[in-house]
Symmetry: D2
């Protein structure tokens, strides 16, 4: 099982290396995680807005990590569908992503993620994603 | 209008700097573009698969660029919704993204993007995205 | 403003007549509604499952109604994008839809809806939808 | 296999009864179908527009039918995710839905559907949907 921050962090580094660039695990529980991305200039768009690809990457990694707390280690679990709605322009401050599993079966899982700017009072995007879980 | 490869490339560099990391414009027309991403190791997941965030970023930039051929320069046009379906594992070869506008109005636009691995015979993902166009 | 059950019910009957077939408003608040659909045989699929189109219709009407509590009466507000994830097979009992507004601007709005089977302990689908609001 | 119009029509009537209300199969091929819905008043919204739930139902049934030409008869294949973008207001004329399979595996399938108003020159919506295929 992957239920501690060091375990999950090491597993992301090993199995989803690009994921590391979308932040670090700050909290973890049964079926959920909280990730934080310290926003640097490379993630900014004109007007000081964090880019869409950054938010999508953050959501994808955090929901994948939340699933791993239920089924992991399952490194070959891959995203089959992702849908994102952008709600507000993020400020140029740290981004937070709170992801949780909505359903998990033997062959697939679904989760959602709220993305926040600065604190959990300011939501900037909502994401749902489906994952395909290979036979183990 | 942004209807040549140099014009559109310069506009992406200026207005969507993170976009540059998702490839370069290879063809452009009225309402569509073709982008190519030479795949390097940093975009790979275990098993030699290009990551989901890379494909989402590529789709977002290419549909945004296709819209710019219709409405540009409009640097503050931003994504409001994006939906991606992953269809097959990409090979560790160049990725292609062919994007086109489906609808464009005064305040919003919709486009789709096919992502291919190696050549346009091997489709790996399909994306639709909505954009909000600010009053000019 | 459309903030009471009779007002909102009358407005749906007048402005979204097909909506009536997807249930009735049971609760209403500022930016949210709860709808109930007494499930009859016509909504069932093989195995006693409520059909996908029924759940999509229910979600569309309930989020549209939740938006009307914020901006209504706005009869020509129309759906621009809807995304649904089906989580579990509903039982052949009453369906509930709890919808709320996530963001509302002058020209567009976004909401989400949880669909439940029997009671709010059994979630069967999650929906997000975008709406285009005409200039008034 | 379900490769003729009478076979597929009978199978929809038997396995997806609500589907019948969203039109009839007009053409069928390997991995695709064309459906037609003669628009009656019950599907209209204010301003003579066909309702969103009607288009979503039509897309769901037509993509499900296209999948059946590949894997059928598989009556318990169910929708796991559906995403629709509305592009233009339909006219109060017949609706057409052209659906095709994008990917089909042992456990899941993905398809897309274009919805047209009157003729295939006037597109009004685009849909992608994922289906879960039970072990046979």
């Amino acid at each position: 099982m992957l239920t501690t921050i060091p375990q999950l962090t090491a597993f992301i580094q090993e199995s989803f290396p690009e994921g590391v660039s979308f932040g670090s695990i700050e909290e973890v529980g049964d079926g959920w995680v909280l990730m934080r991305l310290p926003v640097s200039d490379s993630h900014l768009r004109p007007g000081g807005t964090v880019s869409g690809p950054t938010m999508m990457g953050m959501a994808d990694v955090s929901i994948w990590a939340a699933l791993q707390t239920k089924i992991g280690p399952s490194p070959l679990t891959v995203t089959s569908n992702l849908n994102i709605n952008f709600l507000a322009k993020p400020q140029p401050v740290d981004m937070l992503a709170r992801a949780r599993v909505l359903r998990v079966g033997k062959r697939s899982g679904v989760g959602e993620c709220w993305i926040y700017s600065g604190s959990e009072e300011q939501m900037v995007a909502h994401v749902t994603a489906n994952y395909s879980i290979p036979a183990s």
